[in-house]
C-alpha cells in the first residue's frame, strides 16, 4: 500500500517548535493511544477525555524544552501517566477500580463508539481481572496494549529496565491466564 513520506516523530517535534500543523500531526498520531491509555485507567469516557486533553496541553507547554532526544511516545505517555496518577490522588481512589460514574453514560450529542461492554468469557474476565492486578503489572499492560508502546518505551516511561518490563508483562499475562482460563478449565 502506498504512503506519503510521513515525517517521523523526531522531525515532527522539531517542526512543532514553530509550526502548529506539525504538532497537530503529532497529536493526530497519538491521540487515540493516549485516549485509550487514559480510558483504561478511568473506565470513564469524560475523564479519559479530560486526561487526554490535559496530556496534550501539558505537552504543548513543554514543547520548548524538548531537546529532540528519546522517544516522543515515551514523553507523551510519561505525561499521561502522571496526569492519571494525579487524577486518582485528587479522587483519593484506587486506580485499580474503574470509576463507573455518571459520566460513563453516553454523551447524547455524539454516537458512542465505546457503547457496550464485555461479553462473558475470556474478554469479560480479562477486563474484570485487569483492575485487580498489581499496579505495576496492570500499568505495563495498559501501556503495552492500550498505549501501544514498545518494551523500550515502557521501560522509559516506568523508569524500569526492559528486562523487568518483559517479566512484568509475562507475569501479568500469566495472572490473567490463570484467572481466566486455567481456573475455568478446572471448574
Amino acid at each position: 500500500m502506498n504512503s506519503y513520506p510521513e515525517p517521523d516523530d523526531a522531525t515532527l517535534i522539531r517542526a512543532a517548535q514553530t509550526d502548529p500543523d506539525a504538532f497537530d500531526t503529532l497529536y493526530r498520531r497519538y491521540v487515540t493511544p493516549i485516549y485509550r491509555y487514559c480510558y483504561a485507567h478511568t473506565g470513564v469516557r469524560s475523564e479519559a477525555e479530560d486526561l487526554t486533553a490535559q496530556t496534550f496541553l501539558a505537552a504543548l507547554e513543554g514543547l520548548k524544552g524538548y531537546r529532540g532526544r528519546g522517544s516522543v511516545a515515551a514523553w507523551l505517555f510519561g505525561i499521561a501517566r502522571r496526569k492519571c496518577a494525579d487524577h486518582y490522588r485528587s479522587l483519593n481512589t484506587n486506580p485499580g477500580e474503574p470509576l463507573e460514574t455518571i459520566s460513563a453514560q453516553p454523551d447524547p450529542s455524539t454516537p458512542d463508539p465505546e457503547q457496550g461492554a464485555y461479553h462473558n468469557g475470556v474478554l469479560d474476565c480479562v477486563q474484570r481481572t485487569l483492575h485487580h492486578l498489581s499496579p505495576d503489572r496492570r500499568e505495563v499492560l495498559q501501556l503495552r496494549f492500550w498505549g501501544g508502546l514498545s518494551i523500550r518505551e515502557i521501560a522509559a516511561v516506568m523508569h524500569r529496565r526492559e528486562s523487568a518490563v518483559k517479566v512484568l508483562i509475562s507475569r501479568a499475562i500469566a495472572d490473567l491466564r490463570r484467572r481466566c482460563l486455567d481456573e475455568s478449565e478446572k471448574g
Partner: protein, 796 residues
C-alpha cells in the same frame, strides 16, 4: 553460576516473545493477549472530541506563538502527495486501464485506530453457519476512488450553502482551523467543509430542527426517504445506493439515524467513512448529515475467492485469508447502580448566570462579527453575545477553559441559551482541576437535601433526584465543593456509590474464544536445574491475599544486568513473605534452581535463606526537583532534596531509562519522589537514587516535608478474592454473508475500493455481535504479507 554468554540471545528471545503477535505464544497466552488487544482496540475517542481538542490545542498554541509560520510539515506531506500522485498516474492507471495483466493489490490491514489488529479472536472459535453462502462472480473490478470536490473558497462555500437552502449564509473561519470553512445561516443551519490531505468532508447541521425534535420516531422507511430526498436535492446522493439503519446518538432519542451506502456493481461499499450518515428528527427534518464525498473509477477485474473458501479461512483461522478487520459489539452487563444527571438549567431572560466550559469561536470573513459558543461540563450550550465577545477571539487571550458571567437573553434550544457576556476570564489549562467525587449519605432535612460525607462534611445538593431516599448511600461528582451550606453545582450522582462497586460478575457464559495451540517460544534458561546458586539483587514482590490464604510472587532484579531478566523466587510462603517485606531493597539469596512453568525462562530460585545486603538501605521519600546536568561527560538527571539540599544522580538516567528533558518530573518546581539510595554506588561523587515512585502537583509544590507523603514500603498487595474466573463455552453463529467493496480513505494513502467478504455473526445469547471482513480477491493477486508496499503496477 552459568556464564552469561547466552544473555543476549535470551534477551532477544524475550523480545521476540513479547513483541510479536500471539501466533508465537502458546494458546492460552494468545487468548489472553488477544483479549487485551481487543479490549484496547474497541476504545476510540469520539470524533468530536478529537476535533475539538485539536482546535483547542491550536488556540493554545496561538497564544504562545503569534507569528505562526507556514507548515514545513505540510510542505513535506504535500510534496510527498504530489510525488505519489504523479507516480500513481504514471504507474497505476496504465495497469488499471491497460491489458498487461493484473498487478497485486494491497493487502488490507486493520484500519480502525492505531491499535494492533484483533485478528485471531475467531481463531479456533466454534462457528456455526446459519445463512446461505452467496455465489460469487468469477471476477470483480476494483475501483480507484478520488475525493469529490469540496468548497475551497468562500464563494464556493456560499454557493453550496444556497444549494442547501441556508438562509442568508455567511462564511466564518475558526482561528485555529484555517483550512476549514464554516457557513452559518440565520435559520440555524450550518455547513462545515474540512479538508484532510486529498480528502474533504462535509458536515451539515440544523440547530433549529433539533429544537423541534419532539414526538415518536419516524419509521425506518420514512426516515430513509427523508434522508435520501435531502441528499438528492443537494446533489450528494450516489447513483446507486442502499439505506441502512445506523446507531443514533443518545439512546432514547426519537431521532433516527440512516446510513446511505453507495453501491458499486450491485455490491455495497463498506468502511468507516463510506457513504453518508444522516439524522432525521420526528418531524422528518434532517438535523445532521456527514459525508466524505468520493467518486470511483472502474479498474480491471480480479478473480474472486468463493464464499466457501473465505468461510473456510475464517473458520479455520488460517493466517492467510483470515479477517483483516473484526468489529465486535458487546452488550453492557447490567448493574444495580443508578446514575442521575442534573436537570438542564431552566433560566429566565434577564437572569444572571455564570458558566464554565470550553469555548468555540468563529470569526466572520471580512468582518468583525464573532460567534462564540461555550459548552459547559453538563452539556449546556451558551451562545455568547455582547461587545466583550470580541475579546474571546483575541489570540493573546489564550485558550484554556473559560468562566463567563452574563445575562440570559433567550432560550435558543432544548439546552441552549443566548447569554450576553458581562465579564469573563480564562482558566489556564494548568489550573483546570479534574472533577472530584465524594461519597457519603444522602440526608433530607425538610425540603433541603444534603450529602453528608464519611468525614461528616455537609454539602447542600440543590435539585436532588426525587428517587433518592434519606439515608441512602451516594456518590456525588462536582467541579467545586463550596463550604458553608452553599449549593453544590453537581453534575453526577450515583447510588450506590459507583466507585465503591466492584465490577459485577456476569452469569452464565455462552461465548467461546479458544485459540488453537501454537508454538511456544523457548527462552533459554540461565542455570541448570538443581544447580545451587547465590544471587544478589533488588526484590520486587507482590502479596496476593484471598481471605486467609496468602501467596507471594517475588523476583530478584540484579544490578547492572540490563539484558538479564529478573529471577523468579520460590519457596515457603512464610519465607517469601519475609523477603517481600524488603521490597525494592537488595538482598542476597541462597538456593537451588527449580523448574517453574510460569517463569519466562522456565526456572525459579527455590530460596533456602536470605539476608539483607545492606541493612541501612531503605525506601524513603523526598521532596525536591530534578535538573539535567552534564557530569563526567554525560547528561544525567540530578535530584535535589529540598529538605537537606543533598543531590542525587537518578539511577534510571544512568541506565538510559529516563526520557531526558521530556520527563514530566522535569517541569515541576517541587515533586515528591520515593526511592532507594544505593549504599555503595556513586556517580561523579554523588550518591545514586533509584526512583520508585513520584508525584507532582499543587500539593507537592506546597509541601514542606517528606512526612506529608507516606511511603509505601513492603510488597504490593493484591486482593486475589476479587479475581474472578470466567467460563468459556458456546459458539458464534454466522447469520449473514455478503460480498462488498471495502474502502477506507486515509489522508496518507491511495484510495482503492476492492472486494471483500463480510461475515456477520453473533453469540447465541445475543450479547455479542461481530462483523468480520476477509479480502475477497484471490490470494495470488494480493501482495505478499512482507512485501514492500508499492503502487499497483510496480510489481511487474
Amino acid at each position: 553460576m552459568k556464564a552469561k554468554k547466552d544473555d543476549k540471545s535470551l534477551a532477544q528471545k524475550l523480545n521476540t516473545c513479547m513483541d510479536q503477535p500471539p501466533a508465537e505464544s502458546d494458546a492460552a497466552e494468545a487468548a489472553i493477549v488477544e483479549a487485551l488487544r481487543l479490549s484496547a482496540a474497541r476504545i476510540e475517542p469520539a470524533p468530536d472530541f478529537v476535533t475539538g481538542l485539536s482546535i483547542r490545542l491550536r488556540h493554545q498554541r496561538q497564544t504562545r506563538d503569534l507569528a505562526a509560520r507556514r507548515s514545513t510539515v505540510h510542505r513535506l506531506l504535500w510534496a510527498g502527495a504530489a510525488a505519489i500522485l504523479v507516480a500513481s498516474l504514471t504507474l497505476v492507471l496504465p495497469h488499471l486501464l491497460g491489458s498487461r495483466g493484473l498487478p497485486p493489490l494491497p493487502r488490507l490491514a486493520y484500519a480502525a485506530g492505531s491499535g494492533p489488529a484483533p485478528t485471531g479472536l475467531l481463531a479456533g472459535a466454534t462457528l456455526t453457519l446459519s445463512a446461505p453462502l452467496p455465489t460469487a462472480p468469477k471476477k470483480m473490478p476494483i475501483y480507484v476512488a478520488a475525493a469529490a470536490p469540496v468548497p475551497a473558497t468562500s464563494e464556493e462555500a456560499i454557493a453550496w450553502a444556497l444549494k442547501f437552502g441556508i438562509s442568508n449564509p455567511k462564511v466564518y473561519r475558526n482561528p485555529g482551523e484555517s483550512r476549514s470553512i464554516y457557513v452559518l445561516g440565520d435559520d440555524g443551519q450550518q455547513l462545515i467543509f474540512r479538508r484532510f490531505g486529498p480528502m474533504g468532508s462535509i458536515d451539515y447541521s440544523n440547530d433549529y430542527a433539533v429544537a423541534d425534535a419532539q414526538g415518536p420516531s419516524l419509521t425506518f422507511e420514512q426516515a430513509s426517504q427523508a434522508a435520501v430526498t435531502f441528499l438528492r436535492e443537494r446533489g450528494l446522493l450516489p447513483d446507486h445506493y442502499r439505506t441502512e439503519e445506523a446507531e443514533a446518538p443518545g439512546g432514547d432519542s426519537p431521532t433516527r439515524a440512516i446510513r446511505i451506502v453507495p453501491v458499486l456493481d450491485d455490491y455495497p461499499l463498506v468502511g468507516n467513512h463510506a457513504g453518508a450518515y444522516v439524522l432525521v428528527n420526528p418531524a422528518g427534518q434532517v438535523v445532521y448529515a456527514s459525508l466524505n464525498p468520493l467518486t470511483f473509477k472502474r479498474g480491471q477485474g480480479y478473480p474472486i475467492r468463493s464464499a466457501e473458501d473465505a468461510y473456510g479461512s475464517l473458520s479455520r483461522s488460517e493466517e492467510i485469508g483470515s479477517p483483516f478487520r473484526l468489529d465486535v459489539d458487546l452488550t453492557m452487563p447490567t448493574t444495580d447502580i443508578r446514575h442521575y444527571r442534573p436537570e438542564p438549567p431552566a433560566y429566565t431572560p434577564g437572569q444572571s448566570v455564570t458558566a464554565t466550559g470550553w469555548i468555540h469561536v468563529l470569526v466572520a470573513e471580512g468582518g468583525n462579527e464573532i460567534r462564540a459558543r461555550l459548552t459547559a461540563r453538563d452539556g449546556t450550550l451558551y451562545d455568547l453575545t455582547g461587545p466583550r465577545v470580541a475579546e474571546l477571539a483575541a489570540p493573546e487571550s489564550g485558550f484554556g477553559d473559560v468562566r463567563a458571567r452574563g445575562i440570559i437573553v433567550a432560550r435558543t434550544g432544548p439546552n441552549r441559551w443566548q447569554m450576553e457576556v458581562t465579564d469573563w476570564n480564562f482558566i489556564p489549562a494548568s489550573n483546570v482541576q479534574p472533577p472530584a467525587c465524594q461519597v457519603g449519605t444522602f440526608a433530607e432535612e425538610g425540603t433541603t437535601a444534603w450529602l453528608v460525607t464519611d468525614t461528616e462534611e455537609r454539602y447542600r445538593l440543590p435539585d436532588a433526584p426525587e428517587a433518592l431516599v434519606d439515608g441512602e448511600r451516594i456518590e456525588v461528582c462536582a467541579d467545586e465543593w463550596p463550604a458553608g451550606g452553599e449549593p453544590v453545582n453537581w453534575w453526577g450522582i450515583s447510588s450506590p456509590p459507583a466507585s465503591e462497586q466492584r465490577p459485577v460478575p456476569v452469569a452464565s457464559s455462552s461465548t467461546i474464544v479458544v485459540v488453537e495451540a501454537i508454538e511456544t517460544p523457548q527462552v533459554e534458561a540461565p542455570f541448570e536445574i538443581g544447580q545451587r546458586i547465590e544471587l544478589t539483587g533488588a526484590v520486587y514482590a507482590t502479596l496476593y491475599v484471598n481471605g486467609d490464604a496468602r501467596r507471594v510472587e517475588a523476583y530478584l532484579d540484579k544490578d547492572e544486568a540490563d539484558e538479564e531478566p529478573p529471577y523468579s523466587l520460590a519457596g515457603p510462603t512464610e519465607l517469601l513473605e519475609e523477603i517481600a517485606q524488603h521490597n525494592r531493597l537488595h538482598v542476597r539469596v541462597w538456593g537451588r534452581v527449580v523448574p517453574a512453568q510460569d517463569s519466562p525462562n522456565g526456572q525459579a530460585i527455590q530460596v533456602e535463606r536470605f539476608e539483607r545486603l545492606w541493612p541501612q538501605e531503605r525506601l524513603q521519600g523526598f521532596p525536591g526537583h530534578v535538573d539535567l546536568e552534564r557530569l563526567e561527560g554525560r547528561e544525567v538527571a540530578v535530584f535535589t532534596d529540598h529538605e537537606t539540599g543533598q543531590r542525587y544522580v537518578l539511577d534510571q538516567s544512568l541506565e538510559g531509562y529516563w526520557t531526558s528533558s521530556q520527563d514530566p518530573l522535569m517541569d515541576v518546581e517541587q515533586a515528591f519522589v520515593s526511592g532507594v539510595v544505593h549504599p555503595e554506588k556513586t556517580y561523579a561523587g554523588l550518591p545514586v537514587l533509584r526512583l520508585v515512585s513520584s508525584q507532582a502537583g499543587q500539593e507537592t509544590v506546597a509541601a514542606t516535608s517528606a512526612d506529608q507523603f507516606p511511603v509505601d514500603t513492603g510488597p504490593q498487595v493484591v486482593d486475589e478474592a476479587a479475581l474472578l474466573p470466567a467460563a468459556l463455552q458456546g459458539t458464534f453463529i454466522i447469520d449473514r454473508v455478503e460480498l462488498a467493496y471495502y474502502c477506507e480513505p486515509q489522508p496518507a494513502q491511495l484510495i482503492y475500493a476492492q472486494p471483500v467478504w463480510v461475515f456477520y455473526g453473533h453469540s447465541p445469547d445475543g450479547a455479542t455481535h461481530f462483523t468480520a471482513y476477509v479480502q475477497a480477491v484471490a490470494e495470488e493477486y494480493i501482495e505478499s504479507a512482507g512485501a514492500t508496499t508499492a503502487p499497483i503496477g510496480q510489481g511487474e
